[in-house]
């Protein structure tokens, strides 16, 4: 059976007016279906009381905020509802691979 191309698919080179986010479950969908969850891989400390102020401040507030490849979390809230992680280049806003929570992040695809 021929797979139907989603209606909102925008061809390469066309003017994109919002992010098309690659959900690992549903495929590429427009940004308004998602909520952003910030930098990926920031785990809540298992022993919060054991942290000093520097470590706690770092967990709460310090972020890489890189100009370039950024591992980040999204939730497909108006779709499958799942959380997932993606690589996105913050200079171009292009996506470079995704991974599910709990998995090791892959190398960003070129």
């Amino acid at each position: 059976m021929k797979r139907r191309r989603p209606r909102w698919r925008i061809e390469d080179g066309a003017r994109v007016n919002m992010l098309l986010i690659p959900c690992p479950i549903c495929g590429e969908r427009p940004e308004i279906e998602f909520t952003y969850g910030g930098e990926a891989g920031i785990a809540r400390p298992t022993q919060p009381a054991a942290l000093n102020d520097d470590e706690w401040g770092e967990f709460l507030y310090l972020r890489r905020n890189p100009r370039g490849m950024h591992g980040e979390r999204w939730r497909h809230v108006n779709g499958c509802g799942r959380f997932f992680n993606v690589w996105r280049n913050t200079e171009t806003d292009h996506f470079h691979g995704s991974w599910k929570p709990g998995q090791e992040p892959p190398d960003p695809t070129p």
Partner: protein, 417 residues
Amino acid sequence: MQKFSAFAIARRALNGHRGWGPQWRSPEPKTQYDALIIGGGGHGLATAYYLAREHGMRNIAVLEKSWIGGGNTGRNTTIIRSNYLFDESARLYDHAVKLWENLSQTLNYNVMFSQRGVMMLAHNVHDEQVFKRHVHANRLNGVDNEWLTAEQAKAFCPPLRISPGMRYPVIGAALQRRGGTARHDAVAWGYARAADDLGVDIIQNCMVTGITRDADGAVSGVETTRGRITTRKIGVVAAGNSSVVMAMAGIRMPLESYPLQALVSEPVKPIFPCVVMSNTIHAYISQSDKGELVIGAGTDSYISYSQRGALHVNTHTLEAICELFPDFRRLRVLRNWGGIVDVTPDRSPIIAKTSVPGLYVNCGWGTGGFKATPGSGHLFAHTIAKGEPHALNAPFTIERFRDGFLIDEAAAAAVAH
């Protein structure tokens, strides 16, 4: 410096205005400066100007990776106000407003500062309570702010619709009459010209690629695309790129950089006498002297350095504008652009020294830095020159995110970003 005046214009008119020179030099970078400012936006240029004028530091340079005022200084919606909730913020922003009031005379450059009033609309009981709290808090801090009924708001801004049948009816407004707008390009140019006149080197097309440190860990210079420069003091004023520059000195910042968009309509005759903001339905609008309606959108949800954002963010704001001002529904949008704003977790800036000796940072102005330009530069210059913060910026440290002394203006920002 060629002083600008009516007489100077008349005199130069005699030879066809051919006698005007460049407003600032374009020098080659020297190999050594007493202090370097990284970032040639309004805040960086103001910092250099006050360092030279108030602290006598003349052997200094501003390094700008592209052209001065081409980042957020040239991309914002030019709104100036100081009606912030907390004592620290109200003092900080009102310090800036007081400097704005004389800025054109100080710089001998018309920055077109217009105190036309900034009106923030309330649409529900919560808004009304919050804004009345702001009015009272502002008055205690000596900052003007007053409560208007819906009818008074309509009288102050006739295009405003206050019909009770609206989806979000206007039930009142808080008005800061000393608030207003200024011409953003003129602010960058005015500071650049005045700083240059005091001997400051403004070096454009010079990107900093590294910060070097000596054996004690103190800063010793920078690597740039135009060669190495030694210095003992560096002030980083890099807005959206602050995290990137600070990472060169090994410092992680409590910042995230988001796209923030704005747009203008086609120019029309004067129709809009003030600035109107609505937090609840997310809109802010004013009219430039060119006649364009200047409209600000929200931030996109994700971090980015691309200087562009998504269309749905603008649409959201335009829907609110059309609801509030039905007259504007048939206006066409002329331009839309984005800038990259560095946002702190508490939506208050950082103007502070850092854990690296000789390295100072002025960042985190988020979505509202333009209004603070003179005050920010003035206080940051003090911090760099003295090695210690001024009383007004002492609370705005990086360490507040470790120690928990946040200045939480997130709920007090003009619009929810």
